[in-house]
Symmetry: C2
Subunit: 353 residues, 2 copies
């Protein structure tokens, strides 16, 4: 089968790989209907995190079940399913508490499972899914219906970015009457705008200096756009809000600068939801958090839980998170998909095997 | 008047100081009925934080209003009032949002006010209170009644430790059914036990290795006591909870060790309320917070707000936070008060001018 393999900085190739097989009774094998490239895939692509040895990549997918291990009863062969970017057992304390991203057995695509077997990347024609009982999320519609209704991009967004945006907003406990500033105008930031709107925020300030992204943010529910950065950003927000700062900031980038930006635009006692994978020296400065009475929460989204909450909104058209995909390429052109996102020619690229 | 002055490590003296006067129309002058020594006073006392030059010290008091500036209408001469450990304007965005500890004009005892005038310490016979309109909290009972009913210690506890304990629990969003672990068995930790109980936690684990403090924690509502520390602590908690960890940890010390301890005893997706003034390299490790999906909040307690919530519970005897005072000394023996706390001969010392 064809699958994406990262070899090093700016070197992702579509290669022929062995077809996946069931390895345990807890596995499933899926045929991938659609996958995509994540902002976090750009860290190794850009060499910010090192790639020690070539490995399959990609962690977002919508697929159809082809094979099921004997213990997997949560889906049937032929079901269209979404798979969250982290695989989880569903039974440990963290899973039971609603945080499968912190599962005791958490397993990632392109890595190895708890038995030591390699796990495929999602950017491929087929994938083996460990911990399938809890990790498969059947949509309840056939592949044909989903394709006909154009739902694939919106369902795919639930695998990571839209769930991650909702995790930012949920972790920051966004409430009606809140003024929410969103730091980052990538797919996660744009999804966080949708999430803040879903949770009823009275005002949503998208911090963006790209006109196309700002326009999409407005379509998703942003009431204001602030292009200023650094020290100018809180001043711009004070100008918008009659001297006040935001109640909540959603940090959707993961750098030291974006975290500092998020903390700078909220009032004392404000809340910061952070979901950008920490890179480039990002910190939670304890004296700022302490002295300004901030509450900080987030991390890897428990997409398995959020996709359940979000599916009805996708199916009835309340939200269209798949609008973040502004380019679709075949899997054979995976290198171009990465380049387009790296060069900001695309917000997010959908990949079809 | 007599007042405590810190000169350096292990050198606090009761000295003769000028009687305070009103400096602005926003001030009040109080006669101190009772003050006390705080765990955070021990940082400069122990030399962990340097004392650059001698200054008055102490930030917790119950007092009687003697003089009022022309703008102060929130209390009357003769009123018995509690004063929170941080003074605040009551009108800026942070104050309006319920976080006066993050007030734009926040002012501390033993420091200088926004006009540059020196501010007395609370461990003295009299104090000038800047920002008095919002900072004075009249109890609604006379000094005589409060003394007769033995309420002074309980009211004094609202000035800092009890409010700080409630801030830890509130910041961690303690809910019924939560299992709460309290890290630190000083007066704040013990107050956090009371707070977790008030908020309905189903199980409260006091982490203490001092029998007298553990006994008080149990009286305050702790259901369990764990003496283990470090790597043994999560194991001990798992043994108590059938393999699970706590939902919430309340960090009431402020060191790197206590923060690591707090994070080690909660499940994925757990919440950490932290109110120990950060010292000794305390950090919020971003990868732990991110990877384990923790939510972290706290900081300086907005005592002005919490004392309003807590006063009815003190007046009807629901809570007796003043039981943390296990020694009372006259102001003239302030040096002994510090030594008793430093040497852990006392949990918290009440000081009478």
């Amino acid at each position: 089968m064809l699958a994406a393999v990262i070899h090093g900085a700016r070197d992702v190739r579509a290669e022929d790989r062995p077809d996946p097989l069931l390895r345990t009774d807890d596995d499933a094998v899926l045929r991938v209907v659609a996958a995509c490239v994540c902002g976090s895939d750009l860290w190794p692509y850009r060499g910010v995190t090192a790639t020690q040895e070539p490995h399959p990549i990609g962690h977002e997918l919508v697929g159809v079940v082809e094979q099921l291990g004997a213990n997997v009863t949560s889906a049937q062969v032929g079901d269209l399913v979404i798979v969250p970017f982290s695989l989880s057992c569903g039974t440990c304390q963290s899973c039971r508490a609603g945080f499968p991203a912190a599962c005791d057995q958490v397993t990632f695509f392109g890595s190895t499972d708890r038995q030591g077997h390699p796990v495929d990347g999602a950017q491929g024609e087929r994938v083996r899914i460990p911990l399938a009982q809890h990790s498969l999320f059947p949509v309840g519609l056939s592949e044909a219906v989903v394709e006909e209704r154009g739902l694939v991009p919106h369902l795919l967004a639930l695998a990571d970015v839209m769930s991650t945006g909702l995790h930012a907003a949920t972790s920051a406990n966004v409430k009606p009457d809140d003024v929410v500033a969103v730091v980052g105008d990538g797919a996660v930031g744009l999804s966080a705008v949708i999430a803040a709107d879903l949770l009823g925020a009275q005002r949503i300030i998208a911090m963006s200096r790209h006109e196309d992204r700002a326009a999409l943010a407005r379509r998703f529910g942003a009431t204001d756009v602030v292009a200023e950065r650094g020290q100018d950003a809180p001043d711009a927000i004070r100008a918008l809000l009659g001297g006040d700062l935001a109640d909540v900031a959603l940090e959707c980038v993961g750098t030291a600068e974006s975290m500092a930006q998020a903390m700078s635009v909220v009032r004392g006692g404000g809340r910061v939801g952070f979901v950008g994978v920490p890179n480039g020296g990002a910190q939670l400065p304890i004296r700022t958090v302490f002295g300004r009475n901030l509450t900080v929460g987030g991390g890897m989204a428990s997409a398995r839980r959020y996709m359940e909450e979000l599916l009805p909104d996708v199916l009835d058209g309340t939200i269209t998170p798949g609008d973040v995909f502004d380019l679709t390429l075949p899997l054979s052109e995976i290198a171009q998909a990465y380049a387009a996102m790296d060069e900001r020619r695309a917000i997010k690229v959908l990949v079809r095997p």
